[in-house]
């Protein structure tokens, strides 16, 4: 579960990126966070992954209260979250297999666990034939699929997708969102997807939170138009 209570984030230059935001995303929910550039979406993500602290208010993610979480314990929070980023954030020097397996290696998983789960995750995103490829040998869509496989391989409670379709063509974007939707429905994984592409949100519908100038201006359900 994700809970933000009266959260304000003001940067050192005086800019308030989030202004008294309160938000709850329950376990198993799929929520779109939408807003124009500068609305506070990226700040919200950075807050949730403990990259920046709130100036005031409280943030709870998967049972961790972030204002009380020490930097040295941040890895415990991050292991309970799967990430999909706009720029994929794959490790260039690792193959597809190693990029996905890295998440499990961080948790000191057994070799057997790695050998079982990694091929499954890669197969799920349809890249079974590209396990030995380096990220630079893949298309943007394929790289995002690897990022998706990496995000799900450790069975996280929460997936945060930050503009996952930002660098992809419409067809691949739809496939990525369908993968996220499928995971949410089949595995009851909580998904928070940040996007500025309203057409996708309207197409898929569901819980939608709109940010504007750091404030929540809409929090409700949209009917899918697909």
């Amino acid at each position: 579960m994700v809970l933000l209570k009266d959260v304000t984030v003001t940067f050192q230059n005086g800019v308030t990126a989030l202004d008294d935001v309160s938000l709850t995303v329950s376990d198993g929910e799929f929520a779109f966070i939408v807003g124009e550039s500068g609305a506070g979406k990226s700040t919200l993500i950075r807050l949730l992954i403990n990259e920046i602290p709130p100036t005031s208010g409280r943030v709870y993610v998967n049972g961790f209260e972030l204002s009380k979480l020490k930097k040295s314990r941040a890895h415990k929070l991050r292991r309970s979250i799967g990430y999909v980023f706009q720029d994929f954030k794959l490790i260039d020097s690792m193959t597809v297999y190693e990029n996905v397996a890295f998440v499990l290696r961080c948790t000191d998983a057994t070799t057997r666990t790695i050998r079982n789960r990694v091929p499954d995750a890669i197969s799920l995103v349809g890249l079974k034939d590209k396990v030995k490829c380096l990220p630079r040998e893949l298309s943007g869509g394929e790289q995002q699929r690897v990022a998706f496989a990496r995000a799900i391989v450790a069975n996280p409670k929460l997936i945060i997708a930050d503009e996952p379709t930002g660098n992809l063509d419409p067809k691949t974007s739809l496939e990525i969102i369908e993968l996220l939707k499928g995971l949410n429905e089949k595995c009851n994984t909580t998904v928070i997807m940040v996007t500025h592409e309203h057409e996708f949100v309207r197409a898929f519908g569901g819980r939608t939170v709109t940010l504007r100038d750091g404030k929540v201006v809409f929090d409700g359900f949209l009917n899918p138009s697909l």
């Binding site: 990259e51 941040a74 954030k89 000191d108 057994t110």
Partner: protein, 302 residues
């Protein structure tokens, strides 16, 4: 951590060298040059120190004995001198040996020695070598007090110069080596930082997917260690080969530089090879590993 985890981190550290070829080559060159610089300076200072020691060892104190002593008395005096603290060795020189030595030292002076005749005008003496020349005065005073010793001759001025020279040399050598070490650590550190800087994105990703600082740092540490081992081994080999060549060149000349200086020669390569190679490889590996590991620090604050 499981063995498979350790295995992964070690493999990752070594494969990092391959993936970052350009920076690895730069690190290798900087490390090798640094170690060569320190190594050559160290060997030069070590040999210079030994040469000063050789010159010191040649300085003797001559104790002239009174005339008309019996053999027993002379022997007793020798034993007394041996028992004085800081005395390394005592050798008896008869008056005839002493006179012959002087004759040998002053060539083309037959007329002078004809005038003196065959009888030695010198008394019997003991040639005494001292362990620690900086503490020679108490030994001289003790020898002077022995009954039957007529006069003690010691090159105290020269010994004073040598003692000061060795003291100054020790300070200068330590300062030069310390300065070189600091410069090398800074240069190696900058290279390691540049190498790590190129991979800050990778470190950030690793942090975001839940890696601990240690998990990220260990491959960098292994990478630094491996680079240090390779550079250390390479520089040790170059230093050893060069040192051996210089030693052969200087010691096989007809009139060697060492004879002219009155010193024994360079420290034999075989004597210093093992400790030197071990220190170079070990030191290089340790410095490189620590510096590379520490360079990741600022990128781990994600």
């Amino acid at each position: 951590m499981r063995i498979s985890g350790v295995n992964f981190l070690v493999k990752r550290g070594i494969s990092n060298i391959k993936h970052n070829r350009v920076m690895s080559l730069a690190s290798f060159c900087v490390l090798t040059v640094s170690m060569l610089l320190i190594g050559f300076t160290f060997l030069f200072l070590l040999n210079l120190n030994m040469m000063i020691g050789d010159v010191e060892a040649q300085n003797e104190v001559i104790d002239f004995l009174e005339d008309n002593l019996t053999d027993t008395q002379t022997e007793m005096i020798g034993q007394s001198i041996s028992s004085v603290q800081n005395v390394a060795s005592v050798t008896f020189y008869s008056k005839e040996q002493g006179f012959a030595e002087i004759r040998g030292r002053i060539p083309n002076s037959e007329e002078l020695f004809d005038y003196i005749g065959d009888d030695s005008p010198l008394p019997d003496s003991y040639r005494v070598k001292i362990h620690d020349l900086s503490e020679i005065s108490p030994a001289l005073m003790a020898i002077n007090r022995i009954e039957g010793v007529y006069q003690v001759q010691a090159p105290t001025d020269f010994i004073g110069i040598l003692t000061s020279l060795r003291g100054a040399f020790t300070v200068i050598a330590a300062a030069v080596l310390a300065a070189l070490l600091i410069v090398c650590i800074i240069v190696v550190s900058n290279t390691a930082r540049a190498s790590v800087d190129m991979r800050k994105r990778e470190i950030t990703i690793m942090k975001l997917v839940g890696a601990t600082n240690e998990f990220i740092r260990i491959p960098f540490f292994i990478e630094g260690l491996t680079m240090g081992l390779i550079s250390g081994g390479f520089s040790a080999a170059i230093t050893y080969i060069s040192y051996n060549a210089v030693n052969n060149l200087l010691s096989h000349s007809d009139t060697t530089l060492f004879t002219a200086l009155g010193v024994g020669g360079l420290i034999p390569p075989g004597t210093i090879a093992l400790p030197y190679i071990a220190a170079t490889i070990g030191g290089g590996a340790l410095i490189s590993a620590i510096v590379t590991g520490l360079s990741t620090h600022k990128y781990l604050k994600v």
